[in-house]
Symmetry: C2
Subunit: 145 residues, 2 copies
């Protein structure tokens, strides 16, 4: 298994190498799940990286353009960002309504069916967001409010 380094990814995508940019990308690469801009910012702070929140936003924008990350917006109106392990890395999530824990779902390709159907309607460049909400096992058991 090949380990891809943030630095070479940036170079590959023609992005200049700045301290914060590299750290933001790494935060996403090493995260076990999607992160909001604010969460990334806080991780950098904790690591002692001097970085501004707008810098985080601006870099996330760049990463989206370069297809390094994917994003989606939950019903709380906040966007989450996730490193794309490959250009066709596409998956969905389930969010626990109580503890907010988020789990990646490796769904089979039934969803392709949807996109086909939509292309037939005359749309092109079709993509989609699919997020699930529910209450996870441990919250159900612990009986939290």
């Amino acid at each position: 298994m090949k380990i891809i380094k943030a630095l070479s990814l940036l170079k590959e995508k023609g992005l200049s190498n700045t301290g914060s940019r590299k750290r933001i990308l790494e935060a996403l690469m090493f995260s076990s799940g999607p992160l909001s801009a604010h969460e990334i910012y806080q991780r950098l702070l904790k690591e002692g990286v001097n970085c501004n929140e707008s810098t985080v936003y601006r870099n996330l924008q760049k990463f989206l353009e370069k297809d390094l990350v994917q994003s989606f917006t939950l019903n709380d109106g906040v966007s989450r960002f996730e490193f794309k392990k490959s250009s066709d890395d596409h998956h969905h999530h389930i969010v626990c309504l109580k503890c907010k824990m988020m789990k990646c779902l490796d769904l089979c390709k039934v969803e392709d069916y949807f996109e086909e159907m939509i292309k037939k309607l005359g749309f092109v460049s079709v993509s989609h967001n699919l997020e699930f909400y529910g209450v996870c096992k441990s919250c159900t058991n612990s009986g939290l409010k």
Copy 2:
């Protein structure tokens, strides 16, 4: 075909009958697609209804609780609301990335498949949001930026 009136719906759900509440619900009932809180507010203004934007938000909240409407958040971070014709009226949308036109999709029940899969993971009360993005036929043809 039965015509349901906003007023009787409110009564049925135990909601008091106020001028703006009825108008907000009607705006949703008569709309051909999902509306944001702000869009509803503007429709009321245009109709000459004296109504405040927070009133719109507060009523939408009520309608959600009473299962009169469904809501979802697009990638622009803005919530849209839609009247539920029946308690099991559940469907999805495709949004044109250029003209923002939104079309309802009457998808077959393949999606139930997903929810089953997730319940097996131990989640309960599972729901989901699924929205598509693409470029519609007329935008493709008109070659708008």
